[in-house]
Symmetry: C2
Subunit: 482 residues, 2 copies
Amino acid sequence: MSAPHMDPDEFRRAGHAVVDWIADYWTTLGQRPVTSADPPGALAAALPAAPPTAGEPVEAVLADLDALVTPRLTHWQHPGFFGYFPANTSGPSVLGDLVSSGLGVQGMLWATAPACTELETVMLDWLAGLLDLPQRFRSHTRGGGVIQDSASSATLVATLAALHRASGGRWRDHGVDRRYRAYTSTHGHSSIEKAARIAGLGGEGVRAVEVDPDTQAMRPDALRAAIEADRAAGDLPAIVVATIGTTSSTAVDPLPQIGAICAEYGIWLHVDAAYAGAAAVCPELRWSHAGLEYADSYCFDPHKWLLTGFDCDAFWVADRSELIEALTVMPEFLRNAATESGAVIDYRDWQVPLGRRFRALKLWFVLRWYGVEGLRAHIRRGVALAARFAERVRADDRFELAAPHPFSLVCFRLRVGAELDAVNADLLARVNGTGRVHLTHTRVGDRYTLRLAVGSPQTAEAHVDEAWRLLDEAATDLLGKG
Amino acid sequence: MSAPHMDPDEFRRAGHAVVDWIADYWTTLGQRPVTSADPPGALAAALPAAPPTAGEPVEAVLADLDALVTPRLTHWQHPGFFGYFPANTSGPSVLGDLVSSGLGVQGMLWATAPACTELETVMLDWLAGLLDLPQRFRSHTRGGGVIQDSASSATLVATLAALHRASGGRWRDHGVDRRYRAYTSTHGHSSIEKAARIAGLGGEGVRAVEVDPDTQAMRPDALRAAIEADRAAGDLPAIVVATIGTTSSTAVDPLPQIGAICAEYGIWLHVDAAYAGAAAVCPELRWSHAGLEYADSYCFDPHKWLLTGFDCDAFWVADRSELIEALTVMPEFLRNAATESGAVIDYRDWQVPLGRRFRALKLWFVLRWYGVEGLRAHIRRGVALAARFAERVRADDRFELAAPHPFSLVCFRLRVGAELDAVNADLLARVNGTGRVHLTHTRVGDRYTLRLAVGSPQTAEAHVDEAWRLLDEAATDLLGKG
């Protein structure tokens, strides 16, 4: 009746080997191609069809990791990775997450792991202070913060709390029994439409509000017009999602005006700062958060630009009772004295899943190892590297900047005529095809636009300069010398 | 402009220290109290109000982890932890997760980390084979598997796909514009009501179907009656959630009869085997999955009873196109050639969030390190330990078993008269108050019932025997000698 488990001594030995494997991976990262050239199915075809009958040693798995898996990855921590938004991590984050894995506790209720809940509350208060967020989000008020897996889930729970409020509590029992509307700009993230669909509003429940062509930011007058039109049609405006740092171009929606409109109509204002929120650790970048005092909820992703591994979205509400009322269900098997006392936070009522990992540990490790000054240095470095790259673009007449670059993302393209989209797509394919860098694209002003987002801790001036050199060479191949 | 990051050598040194910390924690776990006696707020009060200005070494954080955090945890991996359902982990799982943290890749699209997607597809096929699930869930058919964070999220996405199907595709654009109904037994998990609420059906959208008083399993005749009543009222039955192993008592709903009813009415059948699904790695326990060929979707949690750390819910659908149609949104910034070729899986369309960790790695490490025989030994050991405990209960006239115990959960209580609930609650408080074990409770047949769930890899006969000894002593204090 014995089941052999890995004993602590074997874990110690194999654990050191895995730590060394990661250290070696990070050391050699810059020499690897950023992306894989293998076709779909290459890894699947190389693996057996079933697990082994008898167990194998960790070394056998690590050997296959090297031979089969890592060559078929996109290396997000690579110094030449400039795609999407960064999903950077760091040594301290990996170690904090390792402790969490080793403890293996469940933080669904305060009672099921008190320190998991309390450290999370304190870390969210630390972050709120670090970003200088409004007092109403701090846990000593009616508000408070929680870790969500992603900004997608933050938008979803904000939408649910907004429906609860807009319906006067009716939604909880009766569901979506009239037409509610959500608003975001045409550059709001796709997760806003997804949240509305999940919540039962349908894709048509989302109004895409026009942006200003110069700033790519939401036009408050267009928001007001959309709200008025919906009200006139008998629909109920429930939530506005404003963005600090849109995915396409890091545009900043004008929160002071948008917030005033939400206050006037009694609409929930959720602010999605998934990527750019981290910038607010630097006082000189806090202009981007002006007007946040209007927000009912706010989130940013430490897992994007604050050196904390995925998943870690920091989400705050100004009135936690609305969120909890929207989401709580209490079965007998979860009843406990601490919950009934009302003196504790049960974070399961702040999110979609019931279970929760001890994710606050990685934040704790990151915030303490870097300190405030270390985090500011990281953000400033990203902004400076992006500015350095933008300067190259600006100085080359063949190229143009497609949008302002207030943070660490630069949007740019070749100035060409009728074939602009195709030529720029070709440019992107050529530089990515070198395997030295990886950039992605979007559309700004409905034109194909390349994006270079800086964020990996390993990225230095030399890597940004190499990206520019590759673009310069590819442009010359495509267009002739500039 | 320099930002100091943890270099690979420092990571190697600190990483070894953290691995050793975990090995020491596991070695000393049995000597710790299972739960903390500290009142709410004790940890929060012991922490500073803000992060440090300058960074601190990892050792400083580990010292505070020992002094402040671990004493205030419920130790889920403790050999005396018998609460809720197990959330067991293992050395191989921790190591696989560590590799995932170190790689720091994002698997939202195939193109953003091909090996992350392909290893996940293969691991879900391995698991499907391991549990002998129907062929229709394998990736070479129209179906396939994906990792969700939890069974809660699996139920939610199943509900959304069911609404998409029930509406004939109308739901995607128009949302919940009529009344849909979901069905589960009175012992279905609370996440089913939560999913219905999130999806906009409201709490009243869920019909709680009566159970058989002997088996605690859903009554097919009652299900049929509820469906007929709703149809007569003009409401649309969308989904039935049947359970293999309910949370209260591990009851198994009669899938063959329920499945036939769902097929007759064209209703989506989701099967929630969050805890007990793992039992199907043992051929002698596969009776519990009879009728699964009717299911449109199925999930179980390797993070409960299959030695894989949270979060890891394995979720399968018989027709992946329905799920993808329900959930996909394609913004420009995610467009890529691989997606447009139709030759790849983009798992972001199978879940709520956009981002994804490389969670298949921990499954790969677990399945290879244990092998099929190691996993079967683990399950058989849990079942045998539960049977051993149940034998003690059965042999003591003061106690009774409150339900069958087909897996590793035993439901029991003191046989007392009018004060049954209070006396049993007192019994639970007394044994948990020793700090040696942790059990939780539920209600079965509307009576207070204690639950002892076996699952920690460290739990041996001695720990189960100690739990019984403490219960015996507390019962003697409460009632006199048996």
